[in-house]
Symmetry: C2
Subunit: 191 residues, 2 copies
DNA sequence: ACTTTATATATCGAACTGATAGTATGCATC
DNA sequence: GATGCATACTATCAGTTCGATATATAAAGT
């Protein structure tokens, strides 16, 4: 499942997402990082450690061009633009009919061993997950308001998807945390 | 957020999950892989490329012991058991109050650029996502029925969490795929 | 005067992914 | 009876990514 038999180097990785972002105009690595945090933060994270090597590889393969703008005292600002080769490559990469959707949850992995934790530890973990969900909802809502209509459909779909998932997560945790209540706590709550 | 300031080597990584699995009894790398596929498949994937090095490191640090059972013609079967040191380490690692929950979705990253795809490409991607969700629901339900009550709370919570998320994903895609319909398709649907 | 935030680059080790490789047994299909 | 496929079991390796860290300046807040 998820792209079996796809030819070499064709995948929706950091390189491809950078390429896609560059279709909306030139940008520096720093600019792209900001976009990874805002519009893609909820579904596809990337740090400088991935972005800079990705841009270097794209430049080497000719998918992007790079203009170095010298600045006094600071390191040069490098501005990247997508090339015709880059467009071709991007469209080929967008042809994947079954892109993956993966979850890596230290949260769930830890809570699966809740029977080895104290009730206090469990409650703290659940509280922090709810807080995290609320913060993500705030970020998404803020972002959604600030742009709204003029966005491409796909971006709106993706953001709505993220919102729905985070909201479902929060609800699940709130409605099922009682599972971890010990008998004493249940008695206390009943009183 | 997400474990800031946690001391070195303390994290809910593949090593720790292996250690946790070994609290339920001795196992080989192969056994652990199967458990990663069944009970943890929906939230924390790991392949042999992570598991074998993890076990080797755990053995080297003394967190697990390893018994090599010679077999004719085949490579030795290596059975691992958690040690007292391993228990200590595991309990320390389970003390993390804010474990992460990360999503890496090639699906959403790709769909964010739907305006560069053909309607057929988009529909195929959405169909395959729904199929994937249905398959995961089938796997979870099957697994849930086969065990049910005798499971530790945490495992039941985690499995229910996974189920809820996958169901929410399926519903969202089904209820919002109309966003990608072109004007012509909408007219055709109205007739 | 001091600290934080923003702009901007980049690297490095550790961890993880996905593919591949090897070897044997058994079971079904042609 | 041969061929192929699934299961059992090990393991490695190149490429990617993660998270932290380093460096340097300017603006803006306290």
């Amino acid at each position: 499942m998820g792209g079996l038999g796809r030819p070499d180097g064709i995948a929706m990785d950091v390189k491809t997402v950078c390429l896609g972002m560059l279709t909306e105009g030139e940008a520096s690595g720093y600019d792209l990082k900001k976009e990874f945090e805002s519009s893609f933060g909820h579904c596809f994270a990337a740090g400088y450690g991935s972005i800079y090597p990705a841009l270097a590889q794209l430049a080497e393969s000719g998918a992007v061009s790079c203009e170095e703008i010298p600045q006094e005292g600071k390191p040069d600002r490098k501005v990247y633009r997508i090339t015709d080769t880059g467009w071709e490559q991007l469209l080929a990469e967008l042809d994947n009919p079954s892109p993956s959707h993966k979850i890596r949850s230290e949260f769930l992995a830890q809570i699966a061993f809740a029977h080895l934790m104290t009730p206090e530890q469990i409650q703290r973990v659940l509280d922090s997950r709810i807080e995290d969900a609320e913060e993500k909802l705030r970020i998404i809502d803020e972002f959604e308001c600030s742009c709204d209509q003029e966005w491409p459909v796909g971006a709106r779909f993706a953001l709505g998807f993220g919102r729905t998932m985070v909201a479902a997560m929060k609800t699940y945790v709130e409605e099922n945390r009682h599972m971890f209540e010990s008998d004493e706590q249940k008695k206390a709550a009943a009183r």
